[in-house]
Symmetry: C3
Subunit: 205 residues, 3 copies
């Protein structure tokens, strides 16, 4: 798969799963149909929009193609009508959020590399792309964002983006590098929740 | 009226009414004079600043002309001294917010069209311009933004922007299209509050 | 010192002290090591990133140089291990925040002037650069930002930036103008807290 096609696929997938997570949060807050669509869209497109703004690629992709908005609205509508299916999973928002985190970390990192950023800058941009959507979602409903509350979150995105850049440096194909990096981020994130991993707190407080 | 003049008029008007709404919220939160001016300015200029950032038109207009800042500060000072007049209205923040919503939906949509966005992209940008100021205002005072809480809010902005684009496509003048689109957004918003319209909630939750 | 060198020094210093303030807030909220680094980084780089976005200087400096990220992470690590030293000061977050406010007001104003903004636009950009980091920090932990809560905050940044522009207009060197402007902002801010200065509230509410 070419880097551009792969990027587009990741971007659409990340928008969809973050859209699902935003819609689930909206439904739990008892918002109506349009509120669900608004939070699904905001959560789904905010990461990519921030990424494009920071890269100076304006107007961001969401204004030039119907795909991101369509994915986010489809996620919102699906959750609105069939969210009961998602709700049977133990922690659907957490799971979807983890997948979005991994996918957007790679998508952000890859677009930054395509536009000429150095590897450290690209990894940072991947992290910001990955955490942006969930951060806006949580701040809009007045919750402290997961990126601060939960143990291994930005660290999972950072690890995935760094693994992606490392795999590319080792000569792996973009597809293989993306699968390894994305999977690493999702697995680290899910494992940290499952096993209650956390980093130490300040020793003196 | 030319499209450019009309855009400038709408932009200044939207900045002023959103400035009034920000100042009212600040006064109710017992902020002092400068806090009132800060929240009036943030609410008044945030929508247009976001719009210009997303369109890549940097630095945003507020840094190049004294008009937006002047309108927002005038709104803040007016409310600070004579806000008792506004306060006699039943729900002044809601009303001013509705007018700002309608005006900025058209202003954002129109600037996007002038800069070459396609109609769907321009409508989306109109909605973001319209909801941006009020969203920052509410998030700064730690309230869940109206765009999520209230029934017909982003939907009103979306309807107004879509009507504006539709009227232009039918060959109406920009002024007439702006009046129709803006009025539709304001009326939908006010009517939804007056009559308690709301969209359905998720059937399964 | 040349204007460019001076700007770089101010920018690094502001990132460091805002990083310290973000890390202190994170530790008090019982976040773990990575959460501390995230909030230190967000607080340290948000002001400069907003400034660069608004000036259209993309990608922002933090993606092109290791310095800002390094300063913010160093601030986070220092606070994590040795924050007890800071904690002995009476109000460390307030003090560091005041220094960051003064330094970023001048750095933002100076970069805006270098990129051709008019003096009023440059002063406004200085204020936004100065308040941006602390605002994101406070909003991420669901607190009403200092810029609204506290009396002389944006006003201190505004005074410092205006003094800086005034000194340059009087023919002073950039270094001297920066010292005067920055010191004025910090002193005004600290004095307002020490002596409980505040501006009047709306007379009618």
């Amino acid at each position: 798969m070419s880097a551009v096609t792969l990027f587009g696929t990741l971007d659409a997938l990340g928008t969809f799963v973050f859209g699902l997570s935003g819609a689930m949060v909206a439904i739990r807050k008892r918002l109506d149909l349009f509120g669900v669509l608004v939070l699904a869209t905001a959560t789904g497109v905010a990461g990519g929009m921030t990424r494009d703004l920071l890269l100076g690629d304006t107007p961001p992709a969401v204004f030039r193609s119907a795909l991101p908005l369509g994915m986010a609205c489809a996620a919102g509508l699906f959750t609105f009508f069939f969210g009961a299916l998602l709700d049977r999973m133990q922690r659907p928002v957490m799971f979807l959020d983890a997948v979005g985190l991994g996918v957007f970390a790679i998508a952000g990192c890859q677009k930054a590399l395509m536009l000429g950023l150095t590897p450290p800058g690209a990894i940072l941009l991947g992290v910001i792309t990955a955490v942006g959507g969930g951060m806006l979602r949580d701040m809009m409903v007045s919750e402290v964002p997961r990126v601060l509350r939960e143990e291994v979150y930005a660290l999972a995105a950072l690890s995935g983006a760094a693994a992606y850049v490392g795999c590319l440096a080792l000569g792996l194909s973009t597809t293989l590098a993306a699968v390894i990096g994305g999977a690493l981020a999702v697995i680290l994130r899910l494992a940290s929740v499952r096993f209650g991993w956390h980093l130490p707190r300040a020793p003196w407080f």
